[in-house]
């Protein structure tokens, strides 16, 4: 069996693992990345493709802002622009109450510099004449946008490989433990010995964390998505709706990518879009975008995303095991923040700390809540 040795081992070749591998290589660390399937083929590659900060919680905005600085540099960083466009992200309000909540968000987010613009009435209609009548206004984040996740996430791992990281695909980790100050990782046909271990295994990360005595209440969600045939360009902004339900973006070829509702699991790691969700999504989308009335849906899909009850990810050092770092459970925010998370992880490896506030993402928060629950019980 092949034996590899490195400064850092990474489990998971999604956008987080891939960008961490790249950032670590740039700092000069040797890196082995183990991916059970193909890099960027799970949630990192099949997500909706929104690159937005608007709507993120206060806790996540510093991280999102840092990523926002990275996205326009993708071409230099990973060799492709990944179809990234700063199209703007428009969050729609369907009622006065929705509009009020968008205004409240804009006020909260103001210090972070998102540049949100609240639009309603004639100003809104004039600016977005193509939208159906169900929206009465919205909040525009002009510098948010969208990108192609299939391309971006895989390209991070390839860039890391070009930078000298050892990327092993179709290599599933069966065990990981710390022994004599080093991690010993056993995977398909190889073992890795490393000083640091990064658990970036997305929806599969929970079992690795549990192996080190850290239980995270993460569940799997399966966002339901579809794409239309190409239709004449009618929107340039990435669109969401306050309160959720439906989101959509039109790519340069004219296809409209839409998401909303949940798919279903049909096997341990197999998922399928759900009939009811797809039909509901189609009905809601056509209400929002009358241009789709005569369009056809050519493909539907879903994926496997880790979701945590407080809607924050786990990022940072383990509370049980020195030199173990976690970064998973992004609850739908992993694609936009992923490039920054990789850099943050690399800084944590190098410096033991980072300028980005990540306390809210501490894995210790679950141990505390478990302890509190047992005291109260």
């Amino acid at each position: 069996m092949e034996q590899l040795t490195s400064d850092v081992a990474i489990i998971g070749g999604g956008i987080v693992g891939g960008s961490a591998a790249l950032a670590l290589r740039k700092m000069g660390y040797s890196v082995v990345l183990l991916e059970r399937r193909w890099c960027g083929a799970e949630a990192s590659g099949v997500n909706y493709g929104g690159v937005r900060r608007q709507g993120r919680s206060k806790d996540q905005l510093p991280l999102a802002q840092r990523s926002h600085q990275i996205w326009p540099r993708l071409k230099d960083l990973i060799g492709i622009d990944g179809e990234y466009v700063r199209s703007g992200h428009l969050k729609l309000a369907r009622s006065e109450a929705d509009l009020a909540s968008l205004e409240a968000y804009a006020e909260m987010a103001a210090p972070f510099g998102l540049g949100l613009e609240i639009l309603s009435g004639n100003r809104f209609r004039d600016r977005f004449p193509g939208l159906g009548n169900s929206a009465i206004g919205g909040s525009l984040c002009p510098e948010d946008g969208h990108a192609n996740p299939r391309l971006v996430s895989a390209a991070f791992a390839r860039a890391a490989a070009r930078a000298g990281a050892e990327i092993r695909e179709n290599t599933e980790v069966s065990s990981a433990r710390q022994d004599g100050g080093r991690f010993q990782i056993t995977a398909t046909n190889l073992t890795v010995s490393s000083k640091f271990l990064l658990n970036c295994a997305g929806a599969w990360a929970g079992s690795f964390a549990a192996g080190f005595g850290e239980i995270v209440p993460m569940q799997r969600i399966h966002p339901n998505m579809l794409v239309t045939e190409p239709v004449a360009r009618f929107m340039d902004v990435n669109i969401g709706v306050e309160g959720g339900g439906v989101y959509g973006r039109q790519v340069s070829r004219g296809n409209v990518v839409l998401g909303g509702g949940r798919g279903i699991a049909v096997g341990p790691d197999q998922t399928r879009p759900a009939y009811e969700s797809t039909l509901r999504l189609m009905a809601q989308a056509v209400e929002l975008f009358p241009q789709l009335r005569h369009a056809q849906v050519i493909r539907t899909w879903t994926g496997i995303e880790g979701d945590i009850p407080d809607h924050n990810p786990v990022i940072g050092f383990s509370r049980t095991t020195p030199n173990l770092l976690h970064a998973f459970g992004f609850c739908g925010a992993g694609f936009q923040t992923g490039p920054a998370v990789g850099e943050v992880l690399a800084e944590l490896v190098r410096d033991g700390t980072t300028d980005i506030p990540i306390d809210a993402f501490d894995i210790g928060r679950f141990a505390r809540s478990v302890a509190r629950a047992s005291v109260m019980g």
Partner: protein
Amino acid sequence: MSEIRPVIIGAGPAGIRAAETLVAAGLRPVVVDEAFRFGGQIYRQPPQALQRPGKALYGFEASKASAVHQTMEALLPQIDYRPNTLVWGTEGGSLNLLTAGQPDRLPYSHLILATGATDRVLPFPGWTLPGVYTLGGAQVSLKFQASVIGPRVAFIGTGPLLYLVAYQYLKAGADVAAVLDTAPFTGKLKALPKLLGHLGTFAKGLYYMGVLAARGVTIRFGVRPLQAAGTERVEALYWRDRRGRQQKVACDAIAWGLALRSETQLADLLGCRFEFDSLNRNWLPTSDGFGRSSLAGVYLAGDGAGIKGADAAELAGKRAALALLADLHYPVDQDEVLGLKHKLDSFAGFREGLEQSFPFPQDWAKDLPDDLILCRCEEITVGELRQAVHQDGVREINRLKALTRIGMGRCQGRICGTAAAECLARESGQTLAAVGRLRAQPPIKPIPFMGGQ
């Protein structure tokens, strides 16, 4: 088991014979079919207004077509027939339907998949020019709409359809510019012993060839298409003869195809086990030899489970229905079951003979120009595939799709999947089996937002 509600998907020869067998046992199956009228592809019926005599529509097969149609006609009061209905997905024991543009769901207890086949095509320079059709498409135009694809048509490719459709066009009054077989003539002679068991089929092929030759049609073997040429639409076909010389034939339409490929998406969405079949050069759902798929309650019949043609499809439809009945503990005549199996097994040798007569041009992917469009829905070229292989290290077909968009458009790989797999295998130096198969994703065919509203 609650209510017994078998659903047959497809109303071609396999689906109709399956329905007949279930009805004879006292069941009332649902028969779902995408077409407006039953008959499938080979025995497709034109719209009522364009009805013509069976002999004109089906030639030698007129009596078989009429037998299949009459069987279905008689079954109609005893089945739940759903024409004009697309099965676009499946979930939790139900089929997702689109009937006349309206979505619906259909629960089933048992499924017989008789989903048939479509043309197997490979791109060649100019193949997206208006006027280039598949062989099957050219035949449908004639059979269904009583229209020809052009007044002067060149036929190129291989397979029994090549001669049949050219003959039908000749009979319809079209000018057959040439019949160009990518297979060598020698293969046909070598295949003779395997075809002897099915002399009728062989004789028909010779007859079509003979009629075409007698009418002065140019027939050539061992050719390769070079270019469909024209400004607005097809004006000529350039091809290479078996000695390697470039030839040109003036024409205003081209019918092109390399035999057929099975429609397996539904079996895939259901979760049936697949195996690579080297004869079909394709991944096919596995069967137990009696029409049972790897999934309990799901049965396979006809060309959707491997290409064997319409006669075999009728037998396979019956066989699948008998397996279903046996699984329900209905009395089934074992001799009949074994007889059917024996007959169908004998088609295997015939199928090998056909493959020898009309071999797939395995060298096709060798000399393709980089700028040739491989995936016409998404307009992705052979060069982009090569780049994905040689720069990004792509070795698997779904990965190819994710990184290049090949197979991601309207056809979802139903048209370009064959070419993508062949080209990927050659570029990555792997076998066709090793590059894997495109996973199906719903909808199997596009579905409209607003349905019929």
